[in-house]
């Protein structure tokens, strides 16, 4: 049969001669390679102290966004939940009462919002589906915990800090992702 490429080489199966049998040359070759690596750039970093730059499309843990006045953007429209292929998002909606206008941006809001991070596959479809810029995938990743139940993220885990009351924490959480205007 004709071969597809001309790169096929027959492996030589000849018995080794005396010099090859004592392995001195092979060991020296190997040591040379090992020694050479001391002068090369290290591919690893000291992770928790140093972090690598993120790709602009990196998809980490979710954050629920607030507007510039600190009101929650989410209106519990359910589009993220219906878009979610892993069915990780659930929510319960409530009507905003008179006097809660500074808390919620729209007439309806998510009284409960839950993401099951054990189910989430970080595909980012929720972010794409959101009509209110309410959910973003941040650059935070690798959450670690001892218990499974800690991975059911409720609103208190997901909501971004208040931009007026805690501007520094807000800026840190927003990172480069959240497009909302940052006051002062």
């Amino acid at each position: 049969m004709e071969s597809l490429t001309n790169r096929i080489r027959q492996v030589e199966r000849k018995p080794m001669n005396f010099f090859e049998k004592i392995y001195l040359v092979a060991i020296a070759k190997g040591m040379f390679i090992t020694f050479g690596h001391m002068f090369k750039k290290r591919p690893t970093i000291n992770y928790p102290e140093k972090t690598r730059p993120f790709s602009p499309v990196f998809r980490g843990l979710h954050i629920l966004n607030r507007d510039e006045e600190g009101r929650e953007n989410c209106t519990a429209c359910g589009l993220c939940a219906v878009a979610c292929p892993a069915e990780a998002i659930t929510m319960e909606a409530a009507e905003r009462k008179v006097g809660e206008e500074q808390l919620y941006r729209e007439e309806k809001y998510a009284a409960r919002y839950e993401i099951n991070m054990l189910r989430c596959i970080f595909c980012g479809l929720c972010e794409d589906a959101c009509p209110k810029d309410a959910i973003y995938l941040s650059e935070t990743f690798a959450p670690a915990d001892y218990q499974r139940k800690q991975f059911i993220y409720g609103k208190k885990d997901l909501l971004i800090p208040h931009p007026v009351n805690e501007p520094d924490a807000y800026k840190k959480a927003a990172g480069n992702r959240v497009k909302a205007k940052i006051i002062n």
């Binding site: 519990a76 429209c77 939940a81 659930t90 409530a94 009462k97 409960r112 218990q147 499974r148 139940k149």
Partner: protein, 409 residues
């Protein structure tokens, strides 16, 4: 030629225009009409829209205000505009302007263009733009989203942006009773609800007040609508202007599962056949059954309106006899993410493990605050508020502490 015989029969019985045409006794028994190159024989006195509905499919013009079960409806929204390329065999001149197909009757030898006409598509895009001038884009909040006719229309014909630069029409919020939520900003003034009140209920207390741009659906002196059949306006409303207050913000329609059910209603005018919108075994909402045009279905020539007792006060599965799943178009979001059966899928593991149930690493209901099986959101009469959730949070806290791998945290 695809004729939907079932629908034709139902239409002939129910529509009064047909009987009117019988009295005229025209020479030909049927009129031949060609819509988008499909020829069909229809009874004299049939409107172009009805003839197109007999053909069905894409040929049918959309209708926002016309409702075949309500006399006098139609002619207001102009979404059903079609081009008449030839008036009739006797007078084959085309009609000079696009005509509203719900209000124009067919003639023998009429040639109608709907989707094959560029003029019609262009005009319909314009009509949708006009309808959306004052309609707010609050679909994320609106309970009608997912089954809204204007949403479908906007999706097919609408533009991505708006050219309108002025303030949108707004109204002071008005309470029209404990069952129906009125959002006047969303209203497109189709008048369907007023026809319902006139033709189905005994006394109409609401109507259109003011004129032109100020026209609004309202009740005089804010009189609450309390009539046994007032709930049917929710079903006829093509947009989210009139929605079910007992279902308000409870759930999105596409997360609820529609099933057909019936009950023996004591009200003689009520047909007792309805669609229940379930989540688990909870009845979140009851509506009348809809046909393929989004209108309330007819049974034996009678339109299947349902009374308020069935709609608002029968929110238990024990009140109803469930017949089966409602058929949903597979293109509709309403059928997304659901098992297409009535029974819950069986637990497979106990059968494989010889009756032993598997050791769960975590029961989601012990941790999750959402969808708690002990809390029936549907039991709250109206939208839930922050204090409802504060109360149930305490409840969940007690439940969550019980077993997490058998230890307390």
């Amino acid at each position: 030629m695809p004729i939907r015989s079932g629908f034709q029969k139902q239409y002939k019985k129910s529509d009064s225009i047909y009987y009117m045409a019988d009295e005229i006794k025209t020479a030909t028994a049927t009129f031949k009409v060609t819509i988008d190159n499909i020829t069909i024989d229809v009874a004299p006195g049939t409107s172009i829209l009805q003839a197109a509905r007999i053909i069905g499919g894409d040929v049918t013009p959309p209708a926002m205000c016309y409702y075949s079960k309500l006399q006098g409806s139609g002619g207001k929204c102009r979404t059903c505009l079609v081009e008449v390329a030839a008036g009739s065999t006797a007078d084959p001149r085309p009609m000079p302007k696009l005509v509203a197909s719900c209000r124009t009757n067919v003639m023998d030898g009429m040639i109608v263009k709907n989707i094959t006409s560029e003029k019609v598509t262009d005009a319909r895009n314009g009509v949708v733009e006009f309808l959306l001038i004052n309609h707010p884009l609050d679909c994320p909040i609106c309970d009608q989203a997912g089954e809204c006719h204007l949403q479908d229309l906007g999706y097919e014909h609408g533009k991505a942006g708006t050219r309108y630069e002025f303030a949108r029409r707004t109204f002071a919020k008005e309470d029209i009773g404990p069952y129906i939520q009125l959002h006047m900003t969303r209203c497109i003034l189709c008048y369907r609800c007023t026809f319902v009140a006139d033709q189905i209920t005994d006394s109409r207390v609401h109507g259109i007040v003011d004129r032109g741009d100020h026209a609004a659906i309202s009740t005089y002196i804010s009189k609450a609508i309390d009539n046994d059949f007032s709930g049917n306006m929710i079903d006829v409303c093509p947009v989210g202007a009139l929605t079910d207050k007992t279902f308000r913000f409870k759930n999105r329609v596409w997360f609820t599962k529609p099933v057909d059910a019936h009950r023996n209603c004591s009200n003689p005018k009520c047909c007792g056949k309805a669609t229940l919108w379930l989540r688990g075994n909870e009845v979140f909402r009851v509506t009348a059954r809809k046909d393929e045009w989004g209108e309330v279905q007819s049974y034996d020539g009678k339109t299947g309106w349902i009374c308020n007792t069935c709609r608002f006060d029968s929110k238990k599965t024990s009140d109803w006899t469930i017949e089966g799943l409602t058929q949903i178009s597979r293109h509709s979001v309403l059928g997304a993410n659901k098992y297409k059966t009535l029974e819950m899928p069986k637990e497979t593991l106990p059968a494989v493990l010889k009756g032993r149930s598997p050791k769960l690493m975590m029961n989601i209901h012990n941790v999750s605050e959402v969808n708690n099986p002990n809390i029936e959101l549907s039991a709250i009469n109206g939208p839930s508020h922050s204090e409802d959730f504060e109360r149930s949070a305490e409840h969940v806290k007690g439940a969550g502490e019980s077993t997490q791998w058998g230890m307390k945290k």
